[in-house]
Amino acid sequence: MSDLWPRIEPLLARVEKPARYIGMEMGTEPGSLAPRHGSSRAAFLLIYPDTYEIGLPNQGLQILYELLNEREDAVAERAYAPWTDMEAAMRAARVPLFSVDTHRAAADFDVLAFNLSAELVYTNLLNLVDLAGVPVRNADRSPSHPVVIAGGHCTYNPEPLAEYVDAFAIGDGEEVIGEIADVVGAWKRGGRASREAVLRELATIPGVYVPSLYDVEYEGPVVRSVTPRYADVPAIVDKRTVADLAEWPYPKRQLVPLVEVVHDRLNVEIFRGCTRGCRFCQAGMITRPVRERPEEQVRTMVREGLRRTGYDEVALTSLSSADFSGIEGVVADLVTDQEGTGGVSVSLPSLRVDAFTVGIASELQKVRRSGLTFAPEAGTWRLRQVINKLIIEDDLYSAVDAAYSQGWRRVKLYFLTGLPTEMDEDTLGIAQLATNVTDIGRKYTKQASCTVSVGGFVPKPHTPFQWFGQNGVDELQRKITLLRNAVRGTRAQVKWHDPKATFAEGIASRGDRRIGRVIERVWRAGGTFQEWSEGFSLDLWLDAMRAEGLDPDWFVTRHRTRDEVLPWAHIAAGLHADFLWGDWQAALAEHGLPDCRWTPCYDCGVCTDYALEHVVASPVTPAGGSQGTGQDLTRSAVDVPVRFLGSKVRS
């Protein structure tokens, strides 16, 4: 197969950041994981549909890359979205999308496998398929074209891309990728005969959804049903879940890029899943239950990872890292381990609001002390009960006090706006919180500052808020303006996400199959890199909706009713519809719900239906309690399906 490098290299002198296109990451050198092709190996091109700097650190694709390259019958390479300057140069020179590992043409692979972590990258997916020389719609592809698959969180509503992606993998990918490789490998060795045959075969793998094998019927504008066309195709596609993270200590050899990327550090995933139950958070809902990695394995992965990569920073990643039961021990060891080596900086994304975590943070960030970030998400206790982010103001203030007193100067607060039941009082509550926070800071330093970052809320499938009608552009803008005026003259600074982008995300997020043509039109009109402010244009989306005869407000700002068939109803994250609806009603009634790791199970459906259980090292609630509040959580945890890891239990 052809190495396109001689045709790529002449383009590099004319583009921004040419190193995006050369590969050469540590971990890909010959003899290590270097991809080995062969006629009996199923060849996967793993693609992150955004720039190299954003895409390379994606842990999901790095895990799959290793798993595939460890196999004797598969091979994986990687590709990212070329920036607009490079794309133009490639199209002019007729250079197709290529892998960064060996600079092989995308169309030479058997599978184009995308990660979808954000909806606004959908137009990039179409663009990359096109740049690969493959027809963008799956109906137009022949057996000579690669199979286009996708995984990642966005695939929990696969419908907007149903006409463009051949197969979706729902949930954790560690096991399913091997099963997909088996099927594709057999197809390849059989001469890649019929496309229909390989898709039918893929559809029999649990967790794999092949949209072309389902018929969608509408009743007026609403979906009436999504039905499989064959008996062996499942009516409901259930997510895949890796029961025990300990069996998957990946990536074992995290790739170290030569160019600076986001999250340029060693990342060690310490647990998957989160049951805090924040009602706006899709990631928390779809990744249940909690599966902790054994403390000892975390230590080994950190120690070996640092030694192998030469990084001086490590992030212990998860949806809420301070909740890890072994966190104290791991942190203490990390600090002792690194004494005298010049220091390693450790970051824990998503801190809880309590002095304990601030203590850890100062312990860890001896080397580089950036800002401390807390995410109260809403400005009043009332609204925080609605969204089930039960942070008590006084806890936030003592955490902030601890932070400023230990030398931090900048505190960042994250909020969402456009939440269900939100009133102007709640918006002004954000300003009040921020003012109080800076006042606390000024007791310690004149330079104390506080950044308030506000994102527009987009209701996501498989969450209790999936029925909620999103705020329109004007309403979000009005709230942002209200907030900006309220903090004028204080030391708090407001940053906000463009409400127009929030609206477009809303179209893609809860769209049905018809939204696919809208995405295609946006792409054809030049709308790539929609999550970049340089590339984004709401007008492209609204024009496309109009051209397709679809009403944007019907998709975005309309409240759904309980009896409506949601477009993703045939995809299951294990959450019972009754649980989600009940939780939505509880939200409207301003009732919180505790974390089922430490309080009795309320049967959301996941553990019970999938025979799963929480895997945690300690039954003891973290300091600050469930949700970081002082809630009484002394009730026993016997009713929760929990498996304790063998490691020592702290009390």
Binding site: W5, E9, P10, L12, A13, P18, A19, Y21, I22, G23, M24, M26, E29, V256, L258, V259, E260, R307, R308, T309, G310, Y311, D312, G342, G343, V367, R368
Partner: protein, 246 residues
């Protein structure tokens, strides 16, 4: 001296092949990671946020290759310098290789000031990447160098400025044999770096419709008192016998 003894070291390294597309900053980060992978006993600066004592020589632009790049570092304890290149190799990408390591005198002048002259070997094409006739190029070079001033467009801080690059140029030789890349025309350029240098491409574009398809830095020189020395030979400390080093 024991304990707090500083052990300054100078390394020479290459940047060849695909890796030429990474920036000078990326090279610095790759080397620093390689030092940590090899667990090199780097000395750290004093102060609130200690930094390893590493200082890089002249920047090499993204896209240029080199046989002769240098970095100075200070080690907290002596190491076997002969073994250093292979010790660092495992942590470095293909194309970046340590090709020399010497003990440096205390307080040796920094590379950025000490280096006064560099040499390049450049594959030349026209601006539209078509082939250049060596005879034509030779004529144009001779004509350009005969003038007292050679105005070049230089990209500085995001703006194009016109500057006279004639004082930078010491020698331009159009070679007779073709390059390995198959281009018929190769030039050797020798240029000053103080008070400021110029890129081969900027000089070529000032001479005519020419560009550098590939530029390889072949030498860096430290000139002092009429003599020129390779940085690995200048300011170095005589090899200390093993017995004394420990």
């Amino acid at each position: 001296m024991r304990g707090g003894a500083a052990n300054p070291v100078r390394l020479r390294y290459t940047k060849l092949g695909k890796v030429r597309w990474i920036s000078h900053r990326d090279v610095a980060r790759a080397l620093e990671r390689a030092f940590r992978i090899a667990q090199l006993p780097l000395a750290f600066s004093e102060g609130f946020s200690p930094r390893p004592r590493v200082s890089f020589g002249l920047a090499l632009s993204t896209g240029h290759e080199s046989d002769a790049e240098y970095v100075d570092l200070v080690l907290a304890e002596p190491v076997d310098l002969d073994a250093l290149p292979s010790r660092l190799d495992a942590g470095l990408p293909e194309g970046i290789a340590i090709v020399g390591a010497v003990a440096l005198a205390d307080r040796a002048p920094a590379l950025q000031e000490a280096v006064t002259c560099v040499e390049w070997r450049v594959d030349v094409a026209h601006g539209d990447l078509t082939e250049v006739d060596p005879a034509r190029l030779r004529e144009q070079v001779d004509a350009a160098l005969a003038e007292p001033v050679l105005e070049a467009t230089r990209h500085r801080k995001g703006r194009d400025v016109i500057e006279d690059v004639r004082p930078v140029i010491r020698r331009i030789t159009v070679c007779d044999e073709p390059s390995a890349a198959g281009l018929p025309t190769v030039v050797e350029m020798e240029m000053s770096t103080q008070p400021r240098g110029a890129k081969p491409g900027e000089v070529l574009a000032a001479i005519g419709d020419f560009t550098d398809v590939r530029a390889l830095r072949t030498y860096q020189w430290i000139e002092r008192d009429g003599a020129r020395q390779e940085p690995l030979d200048a300011d170095t400390r005589p090899r200390v016998p093993e017995a004394c080093a420990s």
